[in-house]
Symmetry: D5
Amino acid sequence: MLFQVQITIQIPYGADRAEVEKLSAAEIEQVKQLQRDGKWLHIWRVAGKWANTSILDLESGDELHHLLSSLPLFPYMKVDVIPLCHHPASL
Amino acid sequence: MLFQVQITIQIPYGADRAEVEKLSAAEIEQVKQLQRDGKWLHIWRVAGKWANTSILDLESGDELHHLLSSLPLFPYMKVDVIPLCHHPASL
Amino acid sequence: MLFQVQITIQIPYGADRAEVEKLSAAEIEQVKQLQRDGKWLHIWRVAGKWANTSILDLESGDELHHLLSSLPLFPYMKVDVIPLCHHPASL
Amino acid sequence: MLFQVQITIQIPYGADRAEVEKLSAAEIEQVKQLQRDGKWLHIWRVAGKWANTSILDLESGDELHHLLSSLPLFPYMKVDVIPLCHHPASL
Amino acid sequence: MLFQVQITIQIPYGADRAEVEKLSAAEIEQVKQLQRDGKWLHIWRVAGKWANTSILDLESGDELHHLLSSLPLFPYMKVDVIPLCHHPASL
Amino acid sequence: MLFQVQITIQIPYGADRAEVEKLSAAEIEQVKQLQRDGKWLHIWRVAGKWANTSILDLESGDELHHLLSSLPLFPYMKVDVIPLCHHPASL
Amino acid sequence: MLFQVQITIQIPYGADRAEVEKLSAAEIEQVKQLQRDGKWLHIWRVAGKWANTSILDLESGDELHHLLSSLPLFPYMKVDVIPLCHHPASL
Amino acid sequence: MLFQVQITIQIPYGADRAEVEKLSAAEIEQVKQLQRDGKWLHIWRVAGKWANTSILDLESGDELHHLLSSLPLFPYMKVDVIPLCHHPASL
Amino acid sequence: MLFQVQITIQIPYGADRAEVEKLSAAEIEQVKQLQRDGKWLHIWRVAGKWANTSILDLESGDELHHLLSSLPLFPYMKVDVIPLCHHPASL
Amino acid sequence: MLFQVQITIQIPYGADRAEVEKLSAAEIEQVKQLQRDGKWLHIWRVAGKWANTSILDLESGDELHHLLSSLPLFPYMKVDVIPLCHHPASL
């Protein structure tokens, strides 16, 4: 099923910037692989913020939690999840 | 450029239901045509609400306003617009 | 998959109370049948409000939307949906 | 009586991760025991967050406070409590 | 157990003022009787608003819901319930 | 006059727990004395939180500020004050 | 004692404008008299809104409630009350 | 001095649409005249909403209130005012 | 023109209390001088909080910003500004 | 297209003030250059806060994100973006 996921990254003051950049680079690779796997359908940057809007196609809430909590920047994420479904106006 | 548009329909008590359904049917056709025109990229229903999440690809804020305010249900819409851009993790 | 659904009923001033009670009675029967079908696992009244907390076990967001929008009081509902999953502390 | 308890864990930056994991493991055992005692009826993970939705069946607000404030992660919890009761649609 | 109940009365424009005053008078008598029964311990007016702060001592959330939903002005109430318990500083 | 005071204690991460417990013990004694003085009428714990609901009977806002800002845990308090008055349903 | 009172007037659509203006004119006279009585110390219009910020000097919350609920536009008011006291920087 | 004014128009259900359009047309002329007078510096439509962001250059809050409350659609406006000043990065 | 300014002081955990008290004492002197200058008309303590409500009479937003940002505790202030004007009920 | 950007600077306690001032000075130069380039049309200080309201004229959300995330104080910014368009009352 489809989930809209709004993710905002919040790096606390004093965090090790090099470590954060390493985690961020690893996260980008992981999200790219999830796209290739057909699970992470879309990811867009929210203009002006360290945040993204994503659409995921997964089996269940269990798979969603496993996938998100495995992301390297998960401890720094504010996550909002909106369950989606087919819209009658969609071609 | 890309815009995320969150639309919630709020029909006031006492509205003419037949009229609302007619407007809703016309809106579905209009949104389908905008998809064929390559302007309205995606539309998903928010599960459990008369609401949708949409992604539009337009020239400008002027085109966005013209397009949304031409929708039949516009007077009953709560609209939130988030400007998007390319995400480095997007394939 | 599991969804937590928080439903608040908001009856506008001037609504036909007899009609609302008829819809409410029909809704109770429909929710009972959905429990017998194994789809609506739990429903509790929020003490002091015309509101409930429910847990549903469904295939997808599509089934959730179909089920909720078929309820007789849907036009008067404020609905919040939270996707759930297994908790490691659950027996 | 029944209480719905929404718990979100907020670990401050700089906390000792090993200590937090030890507290978390102890908490899981404590919540399992409370389930066996018939006091903690349900616990579900909120998908995508370090948070849970729980239903407890207790004598009183005093027992609720004693039970929650004894949990190892209580100092890191944001807690919302909603008193529940029987719903006429519940089988 | 003890519940703090914050009640705000919201009378919609166009309501029959004579009817509202009749309901209000009946409600005052009902709340006085509940005080005599030892169930409604305290009621204070919030200065400057049609609202009150109350403390009730009841068996359960079921009794709380039954009691509040039986009040004549219940359809016009916004209700917030906070479960209370003994404080170690209380004599 | 009567004031409803809602107090939530927020201890920052890294605070000296022994010092906080010493302040907390001193605060309990101070609140007990204010009850004996007839100034602090009621104090209840909010179930599930380090928070309380209190009713104070004081001369003025000046006395309220002096009293609250003299409490040992005042630097860690989030305070909301609601001025109360007599309710016509109160016996 | 001193109270800061923030008042916003909300006239529902369909209200009798002539009646509202009559109530408004009566309210202005009543507030002027309360200023002459030394009870309503200051009243300022919030620029751009049908709203005001006022400072009142009264005996108690009871007097505050009696005074505000006697104002002709009280049924259309949103009222927020903040108890004030002497500031050490005040001359 | 400079004021940022955010205006949202909220037309209640049932309002006379022809009357609203007449008021809207009159408002456009009035705002144009205020631009010619050098008082209303900028006005932009918020894309997707019946709302605008404006910058006004006026003598005082009194002039601001007089000007806004004279607009034909004032009874239907939600207004937020932010006082501005010179920014050191402004050329 | 007149401005209502609501100021809340937020001292972060770990701040040097002696330094804060020195800044606070200097601020009190500065505010007293501004009162003598006829710029800071009123200052009241919000009862129960480290916060104040003030009324200032200044030339412009520029003077307001210069004045507030020169206060010793400015880095620790949450500031809300409301532009005021003459009220027709004011004597 | 036009964007309204509301920026608030939040400097965490303990930040190196000299470093922050250096970043702030560099930011002022960068914003001045963007004004000369015709991209940053307006910048005003919000009176009483370390915040600004700005109007930018850019190609797309991509250019907006690139521009804002290149500002020296970006890690300390809270950013809100509102897409604008032509208003029919604008001369």
